[in-house]
Amino acid sequence: MKKILLVLMCLMMCGCYDYKELNQISIIGGIGIDYDNEYIVSLEIINDKKTSEGDSDSVKTATINGTGKTFVEAFNNAIAKVDRDPYFYQMQVLLISENAAVKGLNEVFDYLLRESKINNSFYTVVTKDTTPQEVFQINSLTEPVASSKIVKMLKDGSGDIKFNKNDEFDLLVGKYVKQGIDISLVALEMEDGEIAFNHMAIFNGDSLITFLNKDDSITYNLLTNKSEGIYLTSEDNVVALFGNKTKKEFKDGKIVITFTADATITEVQDNIDFKDLSVYSKLSQEFSKTMQENIENLIDHSRNYNADILGLGQLIYADKPNSYQKGIGLKVLVEVNASINVNKNGITFEVIK
């Protein structure tokens, strides 16, 4: 009896803590942040009402906006307009507009990390030349929830630019506060009413500096992701890269970046005889050189904006903390070794002439 009483007390005293009935909550798919003299926070609310008989499968979303001088004020103004209890645990994406990103991320990241009703496993994306409200309002046939669509495209899609494993919010903040590395986020654009990803937004400290061009963005993704089937073009030939591996180490006062990958030929313009094995080594050399140039370009371009997105300073900090100074990652000597092994020719030996 005492045992039962004890257990009953345990159950009763916590008094249904955290109890939420499913039809009393509003599931929030994503949060958008814009800045135009004041913060504008938009929430993508997933509408779960049955629309009509036999049409219960269609999901509709609504966007609610709130404005305020600070991010928190704008956020609270937005959730005050939601009629049910807003539920953030299923939140998938945080969209930050270009203006808000230039304004700085500190305030936003601090609040989102501190607030207990928001989970830490969403992804952060910067919107280029568009606002989060517009993005939330696009209506796709296959995925009615815009936030889910963005995450699906960047996680499972076949685009060149994708999330890497450090892009979940808690890991991103970890990277954000680390010494000797600057964060970079995927940039979202609207092309004819459809979402597209062509650039990476690079940050210096807490604010956005610029967007990388498409080639550099793809090179950055190759260096940080295990993305498969990304196309590399050299003069007239195109190959698809597989099994890419990147090794970065600090050795003898310089950084050595080693990039290796296998490649499959996808398009050749010249009359190449694939039965001749020397063709492969020739192509390998050609593409290795191209890749090496690409990586060097990426480093040069990001250094022009004082952003150490590859975390070169962090490598030095991890190896020799005493010799680390702020900005050393922008000055250190870098040696790039790229080797691409073209070893597959697709499913035919012939070339259409």
Binding site: Y19, N23, I46
Partner: protein
């Protein structure tokens, strides 16, 4: 000392209050007394009346030539009542009383099992006759080591109870405890073996069944060989096997007739079903009301749409549906089978279709309840299904109050309770805790028959080898 013919006759008549089925017949100087209801008049006629009417000689000679198989001389008057009620015919001549067995066959023939069916294995089942039941077991174990001891239980019913065990395998301590408990029973009537099982085990301590009640002779024989003891009660088609453990009720013994690889798949599914039938509604309520973050978003939106417009909280919804299903099941059992289908159709229509379209319950709840009930019906033992229901409701209440945390708490209550139960000083959770590989491979899983060489350590301490080695 016995009195004269008239005196005995008068005494018996007084005792039975001139019961209408008491027949007293006088042929020459011999008096014949029998109870018409329990005796076969054909046998009385064949064995006694014919012989006595033809023969003019002394009574001694009559008995020498009588064709009846079972004749006993009664020394004490007190025994008369016992023999009469058991279908014997009393023959009184002078100062001597003889009892001749003329029992009527009031029993049905051996049938196929009704509740514990199996595709393969023997198809005979126990009946209400103790002699037939004993025979069904002894036909399977033809050994002088198979001991059966008879007890009479019930002040009014005088029901015969037979304790069976193999004296070279079974633990004497167990037999001693069973005998002591049997001798302590003082009840006016014993009408079924289930009542004896409740008297022999502690009914109040746990809702779980503490004795196997089987109608399959092959299962009882199997348990006897394993070192358990069986109790056959006259007038009951179920034989009790003691002691029983939790795992005995999960899988039927007829699994042994299948190949181990094939049947182990089924056995694992049954163990999963056990968890599902306990946890399904509780987990659903906990996830839907407390831990929505664990459900993938597309599924959550789906759940949310289905629950839209349902007036009750999920926990109340689950309670209503569970209780409705219990009512449906109960009515299905009680109602005559010829009407049974109409109940099922009505139940299925109301539960499934109408309740959902009326917006009283969500379709996903119907699925959860259906899973709960279908998985609970895998177990053949009714008592087991009912005891799992107790803990299913406990888990549901805990989940409704505290979510997944509550399920963990209630799960602990379940485990603590299960571990605290003892059956004849043997832990009820055997062979899981304490772990015994041998018995676990006979119940939870099946070993290859060739490799199953030993008996369990707990039940057959003195004789563990059952294959190979020395008997």
């Amino acid at each position: 000392m016995l009195g004269g013919v008239c005196m005995i006759e008068r005494k018996i008549k007084e005792e039975f209050n001139d019961s209408s089925d008491l027949i007293v017949k006088k042929i020459k100087n011999i008096t014949i007394i029998y109870l018409e209801s329990v005796s076969s008049s054909d046998k009385v006629n064949d064995y006694i009346t014919l012989m006595t009417s033809i023969d003019n000689g002394k009574i001694r000679d009559v008995f020498d030539r009588m064709a009846a198989p079972n004749i006993k001389e009664i020394k004490k008057y007190d025994e008369c009542e016992f023999y009469l009620t058991n279908g014997f015919t009393l023959i009184i001549k002078g100062r001597k009383i003889y009892a001749v067995e003329t029992r009527a066959d009031i029993h049905r023939s051996v049938n196929v099992p009704q509740t514990q069916q199996s595709i393969n294995g023997p198809k005979d089942a126990f009946t209400e006759n103790i002699q037939i039941n004993l025979g069904l077991i002894k036909r399977r174990i033809k050994s002088s080591h198979l001991i059966n001891e008879d007890f009479m239980i019930g002040r009014k019913t005088n029901t015969k109870v037979s304790l069976l065990y193999l004296d070279d395998i079974c633990d004497e301590g167990l037999i001693f405890k069973i005998k002591r408990k049997l001798s302590k029973i003082d009840i006016d009537g014993l009408l079924d073996s289930a009542i004896l099982a409740q008297l022999l085990t502690e009914e109040s301590k746990t809702p779980f069944p503490m004795a196997i009640e089987s109608e399959r002779p092959d299962r009882v024989a199997n348990d006897l060989l394993e070192g358990k003891a069986a109790l056959i009660v006259d007038t009951s088609p179920f034989v009790i096997v003691l002691p029983a453990f939790f795992v005995d009720f999960i899988n039927p013994k007829s699994d042994d007739y299948n190949k181990s690889v094939n049947i182990n798949f089924v056995k694992i599914i049954r163990s999963v079903s056990l968890l599902l039938t306990l946890l399904a509604p509780a987990l659903y309520v906990a996830l839907i009301n407390y831990n929505q973050e664990t459900i993938p978003i597309s599924l959550l939106i789906n759940f949310s749409q289905q629950r839209d417009g349902v007036p009750f909280p999920a926990a109340i919804e689950a309670f209503i549906m569970l209780i409705m299903c219990e009512i449906l099941r109960e009515s299905d059992i009680r109602f005559p089978s010829s009407y049974g289908s109409s109940i099922s159709i009505l139940g299925a229509l109301i539960m499934g279709e109408a309740a959902v379209s009326a917006g009283i319950v969500s379709p996903i709840m119907i699925i959860v309840i259906a899973i709960t009930f279908i998985t609970s019906l895998i177990f053949t033992e009714m008592e087991m299904i009912n005891s799992l229901r107790v803990f299913r409701f406990l888990l549901l209440i805990a989940a409704a109050l505290a979510g997944l945390f509550g399920i963990v708490l209630a799960g602990f209550i379940f485990l603590i309770h299960l571990c605290s139960v003892e059956n004849y000083s043997m832990p009820y959770t055997y062979p899981l805790a304490p772990f015994d590989k041998i018995y676990a491979k006979k119940t939870l899983l099946k070993e290859q028959t060739k490799k199953s060489k030993y008996r369990s350590k707990l039940l057959a301490r003195k004789n563990q080898v059952r294959m190979g080695g020395e008997e």
